[in-house]
Amino acid sequence: MNRKSSALLVLIVVLAIIATSCAPAAAPAVTTQVVKETVVVPGEPEVQIKEVVKTVVVEPTKAALAEGGIKVIPFLTNESDPESVAVFQQIFAEYSEQNPDVTIDLVIGGHGDIGQRVVAAASVGADLGVILVPPRDMQSFIQAGYLMPLDDVVEAIGADQFKPGALLRGDDGHVYAIAYAGGVHALWVRKDLLAKAGLEAPTTYDELLATAKALTQDTNGDGNIDIYGIGLPVGPDGATGDRFTNFVYENCGDYFDKQGNLVFNKPQVLDAVKRYVELTQYAPPDVTGWSWFDGLDAFLSGKVAMHPYGGRLGVRLETANPEMRANTGVIMLPVGEKTKAVFASYDYLSVFSGTLYPEESKNFLQFFFTGDRLARFELTVPGHLIPPTNAMADEILNSDNEYVKKYKADVETLFGAANYGATPIVFMGAVDTDTCEFNPVYNPMPWSSEIFGRTPTITAEMLQRIVVNGETPEAAWEWAYTEMERIAKEWKAAHPDWKPMAQ
């Protein structure tokens, strides 16, 4: 074979590879089937199931698979704690043992880029399988058709056991996502530093402010602060926004009411803004750059005496510095006296509508949510991963886990705080801003992605305007609520038929 022929052969091979990789996946078939449809009437607790004949698109499953091949289902999550990853892998192996033709492939995404991955996968036709869905993007994902209804999975595992907000429904009444773990912020406090200063754990905002001031100390007398009273982020992302929501709720504020009308412009929210900013004078100088883990690192290094965070802080501290952990406790965050409510949010699992293996993906989800598997997962970071059912919370509190046995009171505090938890994204209007009553009803905020998904988030930017730019709290707050109102108005104008689910 001469040089020219060899080159031509190589060229043909290259072109064949390109052509193969550009070829579309096996086309979905359109067929008519009898399917069970779950009908949920808003306001009615009863779920009705009826059989209807409808045209459905059946994605290729076995047809796309070579004889004897393995079906690979991606599992997209942002849970990257080594213990969590290990338990995921164990559960995947157990599933494959029972289903030898299926392999679950763990894909770990960054905290903020899960949404982007889903959008990108949907655009190019990639398979994502089982996916973690950020609550703020949930309604947009449902609207765009990225998620598969999971009514049959919920029916199989039992819908009644789940706490409010743990099952996410679309406007059509179908369940599209199931919560696997929640997160809540409570205040971690160095008890040894409190004792040294002759103080008790704070129970009111004024006490918290005084404690933060007292614990901000120059310990070696060189003129520089060595320990700051409180680690309170004023960074650009949700790490700041989520914590600020605690201040809003506890001061009888909210973002929108149950009908979707703006209430962030009520004066009690301004009080919350002022309190947050007031506390930051006892926070480290770099809090304007803090994201999720910066406060955790500062606490672990002994540079802050108090920090609002989830249960992970205690677990990490136990590993890094057991002595400091023994001198650390956790309490409800005392930043307002009007409403007993805290920010708490679930993480959800769903099935990507474009998956090659919808039945297998749903089957795996059912497997994950039954037996002891979910509890095993929650125990990888005890107290941080709040179970979506009360029964499982009890199971964890009574488990043989060493950390839970040692710090059961702290885990109980965190689980207890979650009982007063809500997120404005899923429970729009959780706080009645007239009566200060906390009444979280499942009521997703459809425009939440534009308010809480951006960087900086609106509330983070509001706080940065005050702390960084020196704007008055009034001016920054007015900018924030004007921006929120504009976003909501634009969304409602584009969706004139929308009605809040809580109606």
Binding site: C22, Q143, A144, N224, P236, P285, T288, G289, K303
Partner: protein, 302 residues
């Protein structure tokens, strides 16, 4: 005879095109198609997640040109790019000249100098974020406690006055080796007789550098400047991962603004419009560089 020769030439031409085909296909798929898609998208209002699309004509461009944030981000892109590329250029020449000398251990030094370029951006940014930390970072420790240059630790990435500087330091550290490699490779091809002639004419070391080394380096400098300018202007990972565009947009350059617009505000059309305006700027810069490059090559060959 003539017909046979023509047939062979046609065959060769066809073969040449066939050989070019994979590259052309890749170019179309990976460059031209995405560019045209972005150009087309810039005339629409596109919701990133739901893909709801509405024709808006030039509205995206009009609103951008009236947006203070866009112009501020553009200014920060220049503030990030111009000093960044200039300092990399000067240090790149200096270090490459040093590594070109007959010094002991220069092979080891040449290896070490490449290190920052080999470190993934995410690792580099994490390490630098720790180093810049005002509570526990080594940089403030050195400045305050060891060298006694400042009284209080600086919140490098949390202060709008220093955030971009902090990011710039990391950018220079990370990409300086690229310049060093290019210049070192060029220096190794310098004809030695040029230096011999300069010595015979009584040239000083400075004159040797100015009249021999620098002109010899000039085409490489222009290529390095062109590439680094394009890459710095388009740089996203370091600027975003170091400070997430903040505080108060202090590190929001145009690529970070594109990300925020596309995935934060869900306005894909608007984000495409920003990228189109970036293309215009980069095209103008490239045009100037390429003109100078050909002029430098011509001068050198003369």
């Amino acid at each position: 005879m003539f017909a046979r020769s023509l047939g062979m030439r046609r065959g060769n031409l066809l073969f040449a095109y066939l050989m070019l085909a994979p590259a052309i296909i890749m170019l179309i798929a990976l460059n031209i198609y995405p560019f045209l898609t972005a150009f087309y998208s810039s005339f629409f209002n596109i919701h990133t997640i739901t893909r709801e699309t509405t024709w808006v004509g030039l509205e995206n461009f009009r609103s951008l040109l009236q947006s203070a944030l866009f112009w501020q981000s553009f200014g920060r892109s220049l503030l990030w790019m111009v000093p960044g590329v200039s300092i990399q250029l000067v240090l790149g020449i200096a270090i490459s000249l040093l590594l070109h000398q007959e010094l002991r251990g220069r092979w080891f030094a040449r290896g070490i100098v490449l290190f920052p370029y080999l470190v993934p951006a995410i690792v580099a940014t994490l390490v630098w974020r720790f180093m810049f930390n005002p509570l526990t970072g080594v940089i403030n420790y050195l400045l305050v406690d060891v060298l006694d240059l400042i009284d209080k630790p600086i919140a490098w990435l949390a202060d709008p006055d220093t955030a971009l500087l902090g990011v710039l330091i990391v950018g220079i550290w990370k990409y300086l080796p690229f310049m060093v490699i290019l210049f070192l490779a060029r220096l190794q091809t310098t004809p030695l007789e040029l230096y011999d002639a300069a010595k015979i004419d009584g040239a000083s070391s400075w004159q040797e550098f100015w009249y021999v080394t620098l002109p010899w380096l000039q085409p490489t400098i222009l290529v390095a400047l062109l590439l680094r300018t394009l890459w710095m202007f388009n740089e996203f990972d370091i600027t975003y991962l170091m400070a997430y565009g903040g505080p108060m947009y202090a590190t929001t350059t145009l690529p970070v603004l594109i990300r925020t617009t596309a995935f934060g505000l869900n306005q894909m059309g608007q984000a495409a419009a920003i990228s189109m305006l970036m293309v215009l700027v980069l095209f103008a810069i490239s045009f100037v560089y390429i003109r100078y490059y050909y002029r430098a090559e011509e001068q050198l060959s003369n």
